[in-house]
C-alpha cells in the first residue's frame, strides 16, 4: 500500500482528502503544519505529499525545499494544494520541484486521478 502524506491546517479539507485517499487505497498520514509534515515524512518516507502552502510555523514551500534537499526524500512526489493562485506562486511551486500545483477549490475527481498516475 502506497503511503501518502496530507498536509493542511484546515481540518475540513484534511477530512475530505483523508476520505478520498483512503477510499483509493492509500495509507494516509496527516500533518497540521510544516514542522509535523517534515517529522512524518522523515519517519514514513511517503511516496506522495499533498501540501498546502500557508500553514503555521513552517510553510509548504519550505517543506518542499526540505524534501528535495534530502537524498532519501528527494524522489517524493509533491503536489501543492493551495489557495494561492497567482501565476508567480504556481511558478515558484514548480521551480521547487513539485510534480503538480493544484489551486483551491479543486476537483476531487481530477486530483484522485492525478495522484493515482503519480503513484
Amino acid at each position: 500500500m502506497k503511503k501518502i502524506l496530507l498536509v493542511d491546517d484546515e481540518p475540513n479539507i484534511l477530512l475530505s482528502l483523508d476520505f478520498l485517499m483512503k477510499k483509493n487505497g492509500f495509507e494516509v498520514f496527516i500533518a497540521r503544519d510544516g514542522e509535523e509534515a517534515i517529522a512524518i515524512a522523515q519517519r514514513e518516507k511517503p511516496a506522495i505529499v499533498i501540501l498546502d502552502i500557508m500553514m503555521p510555523k513552517v510553510d509548504g514551500y519550505e517543506v518542499c525545499q526540505y524534501l528535495k534537499s534530502q537524498s532519501d526524500l528527494s524522489h517524493t512526489h509533491v503536489i501543492f494544494l493551495s489557495a494561492k493562485s497567482k501565476e508567480s506562486d504556481v511558478q515558484r511551486g514548480y521551480d521547487m520541484g513539485a510534480d503538480l500545483y493544484v489551486t483551491k477549490p479543486f476537483s476531487t475527481r481530477n486530483l484522485v486521478k492525478q495522484v493515482k498516475e503519480l503513484a
Binding site: E10, M55, D59, A83, P105, T108, R109
Partner: protein, 909 residues
C-alpha cells in the same frame, strides 16, 4: 667698512630682495599657487598705509605734540568694523564694473563723466605728489643724518649726495617692471603685492626692534622712560591731553578714517588688488592689530629722544635712526634705516602705480582718443602706446615728486604734508559715500562738491605753506584775501575756535557735502547716471548679467564690437573672449549685438582704458541717433523688472517644488491605499476559497460515494453547512466594513444599559467558555449611566473581544476577566486574557484587517480576520475609542470607551 658703504650695500641688497620677492610672487601666480590669495598677505598689504610718516614722522610728532599722533591710526581702526559694509561694496562694484582706480570709480558712478574723472585725478595728483615727495625726503634725510652724525659727510661717492635720486630711479624701475606687465589693468599685480606685504612686515619688525632696544636696553623699560619724562615739565605735557586738542582729535581722526579707503594707494591694495572679499573679514582685526603694534614704541622713542637730545639738537623726525646711532649700534642703525626705506618705498610704489593708472585712464587716454576715429587705430600701436604712456607716466610722477622734494618740501615736516594729503583725498568722501549709498547723487553735485572742497582745501592748507615759503605776501594770512578778515585762510569765516588745520577740514568737508547734496537735489539726472546709480547702490541685488544694459541703442553690429575689441585686445584674444561670452550667456553669434554683448565689451575695454573712455569707445560704434529717451527708460525698467521677476520666479519655483512634494506624498499615499485595497481584495477572495474548497470537495464526495454510511453523510453535510455559514459571515463582514468605510452605515442609537449587553454576550459564549475550561471573571460596575448606542453593534464588539480572548487565552488554564466602570466621564469596558500577548510593533496592525493572514504563512485559527477592524469602526462611530494594551507572555487587555451622557440625562432615566 665705512657707514656709507654699509648703507649703500644694504640698500642695494634690500632692493634686490624686493625685486626677488616680487618676481617670486609673479612666478607663483603663474604656477597657480598665488601667494596673495590669503587674508594675511592682504592685511599686510593694507599696511602700506604706514609710510615714512608713521616710521619717522609719528615719533617726530609725538616728540613735539605728544599723543595726537595717534589720530592717524585711530581713524582706520574705528573704520575697520565698517569695512564689511563700505569697502566690500566698493570691491564688489569694482569687480563687476572692472574699475581700477578712484577716478574711474567716481566717473563711472556719475554716468561715465569724463570731467569728473579728470578732476578726481587732479585732486589725487595734487594731494599725493607732495606725499610721495616726503617719502623721498625721508630717505634722503635718513641717509643724511646717518652720515652727518658719523662725521662722514664729505665724501667722494656721489650717490650719497643724492640718495633720493638713486632710490627714485630704482623705484621707477621696480614699478615699471611689476606694475605694467599687462595691458589689462584689472589684472592684479601679485608680484608687487607680495613685495609690499613683505615690506610691511619688515618695517614693523625693524621698528619694533628699534623700539624694544631703546626701551629695554637704552632705558630700563617703559616705566623708566615715562618716569624720567614725567620729571621734565614740557615732556609731561606730551602724554596728557589738553581740552584744546579735542577738536583736533576729532577732525584728524575723521580725516584718517576717510583716508584709509580714499588714498589712491589704499584703494589700490584694498580694492583693486583684492582677491577675495572674505579676506576683509580677517583684515578687520589684523590691520588694527598691525597699527597697534607699530605704535607701541612711538611714545617711548619720542620721549627717549627728547631725553637724550635736549635743546632739540636732533630733528625729532630722525630719532628712530639717531638713537641707535647714539648708542653706537651700527647693525641696529642699518636695520632701522632699512625699515624706514621699506616704509617709504612701499608707499611710493603703490601710489605711483595707482596714480599712473588714473592719469592714463582719465587724462591721457581720453585726450588721445578724442577726435580720432576708431578705424584709424591699429592694435599694435594701441598696445605699444598704452604701455609707453603708462611707463612714461610712472617716470613722470616720480620725477615730479623728486623735483617737489628738491625744491619745495624741504621745509615742511613729514606729518604736515601727510595730513594735507589726507585732507585732499578726504574731499572725495561725500561723492564716493553718497555714490554708493544714495541714488540721488548726481554728477553736477559731485563736481561742485569736489570743486568747492578742493578750493577750500587749497586756500586753507596750501596757501599758508606758500606764504611760509615767502612766495606770497604774509598779509594774506594776517588780513585775509583783499583784506577781508573773513577770508583769512587759517580762520575762514572767522572761525577761530578750531586750530587752522581743524577749521580747514571742517570748512572743506562741510561746504563740499552741502554742495554735493544741494546741487544733486536740484540737478536733473541723466539716464546713464540713473542707471549707474542703480547699479552702484544696489550692486548686491544685480547679477552680472543684468548689469549695464546699453541704453536703447538699437543697432550695433557684432562685427563692429569685435573690431573694436580686437584693436585693444588682439584678434585671437577677442575670439576667445567672444567665445566666452557666448558660453556664459548661452547665446549664438548674431548680426546685431544685444545689450549684453555691448556691456560685456564695455567692461572689457574698461579694464584697458578706464570706464569713461571705454564708454566713449563703445558709443562710437553705436548709432547715436537711435538713442531715444524712452528706450533708455524702458531698458532700465526692464532690468529692474527682471530683478523683480527673477525674485518672483524663484518664489514661484519654490512653491511649485513644495506643491510637487505634496503631490508626490499624496501619490505615495494613494499608491499605498491602492495597494491596501488590492491586498484586501486578494485576501478576501483567498479567505473565500477555503470554505468553497471544503464545500466542493464534500459535495463531490457525497455525489461519488453511494457507499457512505449515514453517519458519514451526516458529518459531511454538516461540514458543508458550517463552511457555508463561514462564507456568509465573511461576506457580511466585508459588506459591513464597506458600509463603515463609505459612511453609509447607520447606527440605530438608543439608550442602552451596557452591563446588560455584556451579560447577553457572556451568555452567548458561555458554552464555549465551559468547553475550553476557561475561568471567566465578570466585574461590572452597578452604577453605570445609560449610554447612547446601537445595541446590536455593541454586542457585536463585545462578542468579538470575548471570542478573541477565548481563542487566544492560555490553553491549559485560560483566564478571562471582563469589567466595566465609569471613569472621567466615559464608560470603559475591559476584556483581559492571559494569552501570549501581542508584541508592541503589532498592536496597531491587528486593527488593520487580515493581520494574521498577512503575517504568517499560517492561517488564523478561526474567524474572518476582520473582527477587530469592524469593532474599532463601530466604537469610533459611537465617538469612543478601542485599543489594546499588551506585553508578550503577559496577556492582552482590550479596552473600549463610550461617551457617557451628561449627568442630567442620566437622572431622567
Amino acid at each position: 667698512m665705512s657707514l656709507q658703504w654699509l648703507i649703500l650695500i644694504s640698500s642695494l641688497l634690500y632692493l634686490g630682495l624686493l625685486f626677488g620677492i616680487a618676481y617670486l610672487g609673479e612666478r607663483q601666480t603663474q604656477r597657480g599657487k598665488s601667494l596673495v590669495n590669503n587674508p594675511y598677505v592682504y592685511s599686510l598689504s593694507l599696511a602700506v598705509f604706514c609710510t615714512a610718516w608713521t616710521y619717522y614722522g609719528s615719533v617726530g610728532q609725538a616728540a613735539r605734540q605728544g599723543v595726537p599722533f595717534l589720530t592717524t591710526y585711530l581713524g582706520p581702526t574705528l573704520m575697520a568694523p565698517l569695512w564689511w559694509i563700505v569697502l566690500r561694496k566698493i570691491i564688489r562694484i569694482c569687480k563687476v564694473q572692472r574699475i581700477t582706480t578712484l577716478a574711474d570709480f567716481l566717473s563711472a558712478r556719475y554716468g561715465n563723466n569724463i570731467s569728473l574723472g579728470v578732476l578726481v585725478t587732479l585732486v589725487c595728483i595734487l594731494g599725493i605728489l607732495p606725499y610721495i615727495s616726503i617719502q623721498l625726503k625721508a630717505i634722503g634725510a635718513s641717509v643724511d643724518i646717518l652720515l652727518t652724525h658719523s662725521g662722514q659727510k664729505s665724501t667722494l661717492v656721489t650717490w650719497t649726495n643724492d640718495p633720493a635720486l638713486f632710490i627714485t630711479i630704482a623705484l621707477a624701475g621696480f614699478t615699471i617692471l611689476f606694475g605694467t606687465r599687462q595691458v589689462d589693468v584689472t589684472k592684479r599685480h601679485e608680484g608687487m603685492v607680495t613685495a609690499i606685504a613683505f615690506e610691511s612686515l619688515f618695517k614693523l619688525l625693524a621698528f619694533l626692534a628699534v623700539g624694544a632696544y631703546i626701551t629695554f636696553i637704552g632705558f630700563n623699560g617703559f616705566s623708566d622712560i615715562f618716569s624720567q619724562a614725567q620729571a621734565v615739565p614740557h615732556l609731561r605735557e606730551l602724554f596728557t591731553l589738553s581740552p584744546s586738542q579735542y577738536a583736533d582729535w576729532f577732525w584728524l581722526t575723521l580725516v584718517s578714517l576717510l583716508a584709509i579707503f580714499l588714498l589712491p594707494r589704499q584703494f589700490q591694495v584694498a580694492v583693486k588688488e583684492n582677491v577675495n572679499e572674505r579676506h576683509l573679514l580677517r583684515a578687520t582685526w589684523l590691520f588694527p592689530l598691525y597699527l597697534l603694534l607699530i605704535n607701541l614704541f612711538v611714545l617711548p622713542i619720542a620721549l627717549g629722544g627728547n631725553l637724550l637730545f635736549p635743546e632739540q639738537s636732533v630733528d625729532a623726525d630722525t630719532y628712530v635712526l639717531a638713537i641707535p646711532q647714539y648708542f653706537g649700534k651700527d647693525v641696529l642703525t642699518v636695520v632701522a634705516f632699512l625699515g624706514g626705506l621699506s616704509a617709504a618705498t612701499s608707499m611710493i610704489i603703490v601710489s605711483t602705480i595707482a596714480l599712473s593708472t588714473m592719469v592714463n585712464n582719465n587724462l591721457l587716454v581720453p585726450i588721445w582718443l578724442s577726435g580720432k576715429s576708431i578705424r584709424e587705430l591699429k592694435r599694435e600701436r594701441i598696445n605699444r602706446a598704452l604701455f609707453n604712456s603708462r611707463r612714461l607716466t610712472i617716470i613722470g610722477i616720480l620725477l615730479l615728486a623728486y623735483l617737489y622734494f628738491k625744491f619745495v618740501s624741504g621745509q615742511f615736516s613729514l606729518v604736515s604734508i601727510g595730513i594735507t594729503s589726507f585732507v585732499a583725498v578726504a574731499q572725495l568722501a561725500p561723492c564716493l559715500l553718497g555714490g554708493i549709498f544714495w541714488k540721488g547723487g548726481t554728477y553736477q553735485g559731485a563736481l561742485s562738491g569736489l570743486l568747492i572742497g578742493f578750493t577750500v582745501w587749497f586756500y586753507t592748507l596750501v596757501i599758508p605753506t606758500i606764504v611760509q615759503a615767502e612766495l606770497l605776501p604774509s598779509h594774506l594770512l594776517e588780513q585775509g584775501l583783499l583784506g577781508i578778515s573773513a577770508l583769512r585762510p587759517e580762520s575762514l569765516f572767522g572761525l577761530t575756535v578750531f586750530s587752522p588745520l581743524s577749521q580747514a577740514i571742517f570748512w572743506s568737508l562741510l561746504l563740499n557735502t552741502i554742495s554735493y547734496i544741494g546741487v544733486s537735489l536740484f540737478a536733473t539726472v541723466s539716464v546713464s547716471e540713473r542707471k549707474q546709480a542703480e547699479l552702484f547702490v544696489d550692486v548686491f541685488q544685480y547679477s552680472p548679467s543684468t548689469l549695464s544694459p546699453l541704453e536703447g541703442a538699437k543697432v550695433v553690429l557684432t562685427a563692429d564690437i569685435e573690431e573694436l575689441l580686437a584693436k585693444f585686445l588682439g584678434r585671437s584674444g577677442t575670439r576667445t573672449l567672444m567665445k566666452n561670452f557666448y558660453q556664459q550667456y548661452r547665446t549664438k553669434p548674431q548680426r546685431e549685438a544685444d545689450y549684453r554683448l555691448v556691456s560685456y565689451a564695455e567692461r572689457l575695454l574698461a579694464g584697458v582704458i578706464g570706464s569713461s573712455s571705454a564708454n566713449v569707445m563703445v558709443m562710437s560704434v553705436v548709432r547715436k541717433d537711435d538713442l531715444l529717451l524712452e528706450d533708455l527708460f524702458r531698458v532700465l525698467d526692464e532690468s529692474q523688472q527682471l530683478v523683480y521677476a527673477n525674485q518672483k520666479l524663484k518664489q514661484k519655483s519654490r512653491e511649485l517644488e513644495q506643491l510637487s512634494q505634496q503631490l508626490k506624498q499624496a501619490n505615495r499615499e494613494l499608491q499605498k491605499l491602492d495597494y491596501l485595497k488590492d491586498e484586501f481584495i486578494s485576501t478576501v477572495t483567498h479567505e473565500l476559497r477555503t470554505p468553497i474548497t471544503s464545500i466542493r470537495a464534500f459535495c463531490e464526495i457525497l455525489q461519488d460515494s453511494p457507499e457512505l454510511s449515514p453517519e458519514e453523510q451526516e458529518q459531511f453535510l454538516s461540514t458543508i453547512i458550517k463552511e457555508t455559514d463561514r462564507m456568509e459571515r465573511l461576506i457580511n463582514q466585508v459588506l459591513d466594513l464597506e458600509k463603515f468605510e463609505s459612511g453609509t452605515q447607520q447606527l440605530h442609537l438608543q439608550l442602552v444599559d451596557i452591563n446588560q449587553v455584556i451579560q447577553e454576550a457572556i451568555t452567548t459564549v458561555s458554552q464555549l467558555v465551559k468547553e475550553k475550561d476557561i475561568s471567566l471573571q465578570v466585574n461590572l460596575s452597578p452604577t453605570l449611566p445609560m449610554v447612547s448606542a446601537d445595541p446590536d453593534r455593541l454586542i457585536q464588539v463585545i462578542l468579538n473581544l470575548l471570542s478573541n480572548a477565548i481563542k487566544f487565552c492560555n490553553s491549559s488554564n485560560g483566564y478571562i476577566r471582563i469589567s466595566s466602570y465609569l471613569v472621567e466621564g466615559v464608560v470603559k469596558v475591559n476584556v483581559l486574557d492571559n494569552g501570549k500577548g501581542i508584541p508592541a510593533e503589532s498592536q496597531e496592525m491587528i486593527f488593520e484587517g487580515f493581520f494574521q493572514a498577512h503575517n504568517q504563512t499560517t492561517k488564523k485559527p478561526v474567524g474572518s480576520g476582520l473582527g477587530l477592524t469592524i469593532s474599532r469602526k463601530i466604537i469610533e462611530h459611537h465617538r469612543g475609542k478601542l485599543w489594546v494594551e499588551s506585553e508578550p507572555e503577559q496577556g492582552s487587555k482590550f479596552s473600549f470607551t463610550l461617551p457617557a451622557p451628561p449627568i442630567g440625562r442620566k437622572l431622567s432615566y
